[in-house]
Symmetry: C2
Subunit: 289 residues, 2 copies
């Protein structure tokens, strides 16, 4: 049976590291300060932002959720965002998505100052990944960062490994592929138009699935060596309302070496990445002063 | 024997298209205006910039080479660059590389305004590629753009094709991989740390080599179906001083379906891409006014 690569024990280690970092900063009089802009009361967003606030306070950082009315005008929303960007007391900033329809055309990632962009979606931060960085100089998107952290904790040396990324989104697939390339993996990006996908996945050492299709990847995608590593980014609800990933866990668990479960896997890592990005952003800002 | 996919006939078509575009713009009183900053007298750079100027004038655009002294101070250089960025009469702008040693740490691509960045290396333009664009909204790097143009002229439909890109540079490999992904190809990025590379290339429909190693790819990388498409980005000088590519042309020419020669292939396309980017930039700037 495969090893289940769970987030919980990694979260314990990282949380402790972040607490340590915060207390070091506190000795210098610095408390990392995160602002989260929440427009409206979309229930999952209310829960997500509350969890993020709780986590940040738990590690010793500050976090304020700035609640804006659902029907706020575009001008008022942009002006609030700009004010937070310009506030020197703010170290990290992001807008909780999704935005209400009348604001959803705004590419908020580009409006947050890159040095405060803890979500890692500003063009300047993505340029960092393109130019070879893995987070040492730039802020990197939270989900890919979380996956790298998991692989690192499982002692997976990515250099020379064949990694297949299924999904080509701006949020996960593309930055993930670039980061893995920077880590010296040989990366193949697959997607809905890919032909002979099972031939490709059967050759992979690591498969990362990020397409949002319940239980898409099953044992027919794998080879018979039982040595493949499977990373499941999907969080879907099946027809019974049960949470499941993009991988059919039950079907593959005896056919691979290591697999991240859903829930309790990659999804739990993003908040840790957010914390790491906040600390990194704060430290860089203090060095610059 | 493979078809030799040469730049010359494509160049004729594109040059005509660009002339057409320029004369349309001229009817509206607009002459696309390119500025090239050349620091020092590095002989190849002098030739490249002269060729670019000649080409732009040939299609009906303006092009001025701004020659700066080899030993110009960083402050003076940056101030000249900023002046050109702020000049509303300038539609396209780039700095000819390499810069002299004392300036080589400057990432000039990030200092050119994105809307004038005909080289396509500004973070905002690369963000465009990451978010799925293939040049319709953003300016894209010249060599990858030239390769897409060649494949398009050879009627290669990239959708669902397995494409292997060898090389992971910011200039060619990475933007090329993203553009091909946007064109619905399934892309694998290989590099110096890749294991079993010949197994990977033998499965490819298209192989793009951009590593700067003379005659690196030979027939041992190919399958026996003689249907593969080979794109050679390298321009190397062999031990006899002869120009050659990253592909051993003589060795593979009877083993593939289509191949770009060196010289006379991809290298000749970049100037056309530069022209296309200049026209695109000019048109977008005029629409915005």
């Amino acid at each position: 049976m495969a090893i289940s690569l769970k987030a919980a024990p990694i979260a314990e280690v990282i949380t402790e590291e972040l607490r340590h970092e915060c207390s070091h900063l506190a000795e210098r009089g610095i408390i990392p300060n995160l602002k989260v802009i929440l427009v409206g009361e979309h229930p999952p967003s209310v829960i997500y932002t509350r969890n993020k606030k709780k986590f940040m306070e738990n590690i010793g950082a500050k976090c304020e959720i700035i609640k804006l009315e659902e029907n706020i005008s575009e001008a008022e929303f942009l002006s609030e965002l700009e004010m937070q960007c310009n506030d020197n007391e703010v170290n990290g900033l992001f807008v909780q998505l999704p935005l209400p329809n009348h604001l959803s055309h705004i590419d908020v990632g580009q409006l947050v100052s890159p040095e405060k962009d803890v979500d890692g979606f500003h063009a300047e931060n993505l340029y960092g990944i393109l130019s070879g960085d893995c987070g040492s100089k730039y802020l990197i998107p939270c989900t890919p960062r979380g996956i790298l952290t998991m692989l690192d904790h499982a002692n997976v040396d990515l250099s020379g490994k064949n990694v297949v990324v299924i999904g080509r989104s701006l949020i996960v697939g593309k930055p993930m592929a670039l980061l893995l390339t920077n880590k010296n993996a040989t990366v193949t990006i697959c997607h809905s138009r890919t032909k002979n996908i099972k031939e490709i996945t059967s050759k992979a050492d690591v498969i990362i699935v990020a397409i949002g299709k319940e239980r898409y990847l099953n044992r027919s995608f794998l080879n018979s060596n039982k040595n493949q590593i499977l990373i499941d980014v999907g969080i879907n609800h099946d027809t019974n309302g049960k949470i499941c990933g993009d991988i059919d866990y039950e079907d593959v668990v005896n056919e691979c070496h290591l697999i991240t479960p859903v829930p309790g896997g990659v999804g739990k890592m993003t908040i840790l990445s957010l914390g790491q990005n906040l600390i990194a952003a704060t430290k860089r800002q203090c060095e610059e002063k």
